[in-house]
Amino acid sequence: MTGEKKINIVLAGQGNAGKSSAFNYLTGLHQHIGNWAGKTIEKREGTLFFKGHTIDVLDLPGIYSLTTVSVEEQIAREYIIRHKPDFVINIIDSTNLERHLIFTLQLMELECPVILVLNMSDVARRKGIEIDHDKLEKIFNAPVIPTVASHGSGMARVMDKVIELKGQPHTHRIHPYGKEIEQAIGQLSGSLTGLSLPYPVRWVAIKLLEKDGEITRLVGEQDPGIIEEAVRLGGMLEDIHGHDSGIVIADERSHIASRIIRESVRIDPVRKTTLSDRLNAVTTHKIGGYLVLILILSGMFLAVFGFGNWLSGLLGAWFGNWQEWWAAHVGTSFIASLGWSAIEGVLALIQIAFPYILPFYILLYLLEGWGYVARISFLMDNLMHKMGIHGKGCISFIIGFGCNVPGCLSCRIMESRRERFLTAVLVTLVPCSAVSVIVFGLVGKYVGLWWAAGLYLFAMALLFITGRILSRLLPGEPVELIMPMPDYKVPRLRTILSQTWDATREFIYIAAPIVIVSGMVIQAIDLAGWMPAISSLLSPVTVHWLRLPAITGILLIFGILRKELILVMLAAYMGTTSFSDVLTAQQMITLAIVSMFYVPCVATISVLWREYGWKKALMVCVLETVGAILLAGLVTRILDFVF
């Protein structure tokens, strides 16, 4: 392969512009998904072979602007400046052209070669938005190509353009700011020419006037005098406009975008009310919206758990006699038993991943592709805010009901580190499908369904209170919800399946090694005959405080692996599945409460560790274990008055 046939492109744009669809269409199965070094933000790369060229495609995280507010934005601009991709493909939502052009203007300031892709052009046409592409091309002096990325239409033209223009110098038109701003930029640029910075000079000057923290620091290290000059010039702008100079520039950029729109876009004055508009009105209505939400979510849970219980039962029956087969053919030696526990871990993962997690993700991505997830965030924002996080956190909770592992991973959609951690901790308190097995198999079956439902309410109340307390304790300010409300659209099966596959694969990659290894460790402890010693060591807590049988200590240790093992091992140690013979109703409720809230399972712990460091992961484990034990002991004493 010759060097000149290799082309690097990056996809950049704001959220909801169809960047993921474009990326999936271009790269198909040739994708690699990882993390940005040292960051918990997904890095998606892929390769496309097109007309004899190898085109490397990188999907930059979705962003609002290129002024550092969030990590995503910093990653994007650093990448563009340092790696100098051959082309930045700016994916733009044609139906929200004005807002997206503000970002385009910022991209152009980075002085990189940009191709404007006006995506969702079909929807724009339907809405009566007529965009003059030739005019836009002239305004920016950059290629403008309309596409419908979800169908792939227009994407080949984008790639043709990439090949055609490769190696040619670009001459994008700079859109000047107001006179006084340009004077300040000119003066600063003059002073900056002596410095050695990897960035375009005009861009640095603009960033200094915008008081960008990172750039101010970098320039300040080389010449503090320039910072003083920038502060002085910024002060002059503030005197003229009465605002912070950063806001003056952002305002001006927004006005430039409006002007470009006036020159190049004609909107049908009779704005048609679309089906999407009507659906939006119903699904975000102050009362009707919540009814729809309850219907959709309960439908989703019923479908997932109905299907999951059926498939998991089927798989369980199928795997049922494998252990006997193993014992008969491989043996029951120490090593053979360890081997079996590794296999058992894999089988258990399969019984969680396929019956529960896969269908859960399919439905969730279906709702997302349709546009409903943003409505959930909107409707739940108020309640979530009382826990110190905004509406988007609700999505992580919903996922957490299926499994805490993907629930914690999904906290990445929150903007700040504080909110990510806060959301993740709260997700660990959400009763996952494994915990539901205990709640329904023990309390629901032997004490009553209302008691089981009560435990769920109790869990929600505890989650709410913990959120309130934690949001006060954690330093930092809560971030306000601000998000675009996308149009409803017909979800694309291909996108849903690829997102589901990615997410399920990530779950297996993260959970499998840790579940297998820790399963073998616990099995070894058991085989070594240390379990009775451990349970008697824990008996002051289990027997005296929780008033449970002494073997509870062992159950809780197995439960760290996977929560439903508490029930499985209870049956194994008691030699019966008729739990009402061995436990009183009071004990069942107590055991269920401990199981629900004590340490998250080992796979969830590993996610907390990976994303937030071992100190925070350990802190969560210790606090939740202590809290759960204290709480369950108190509840059991209160229940004295009931039973």
Partner: protein
């Protein structure tokens, strides 16, 4: 002449009302973030939906829908058109 009485917070408007932004009294970061989304003084906004108990508001700006948290909406002063 604008009288201060004509001004309201964005979250005091009702569904379907249209207004012009008069001032944004949030912090620097919020104001900038809004400007990056094309929302500055002089921008016309239409309330599409509010939630119960003065939660977030859903607005239409330049043909696109956006959602603001309640705190943010409270800091945006508008004048009815």
């Amino acid at each position: 002449m604008d009288r201060i009485q004509d001004q309201k917070s964005l979250n005091e408007l009702e569904d379907g009302q249209t207004a012009i932004i008069v001032s944004i009294n949030g912090g620097k970061q919020m104001t900038k973030r809004l400007a990056d989304l094309g929302i500055t003084t002089g921008t016309e906004v239409k309330i599409i939906r509010k939630t119960l108990f003065s939660g977030p508001v859903q607005v239409e700006v330049a043909g696109s829908r956006l959602v603001f948290g309640r705190g943010m909406a409270g800091k945006i002063r508008v004048k009815l058109t």
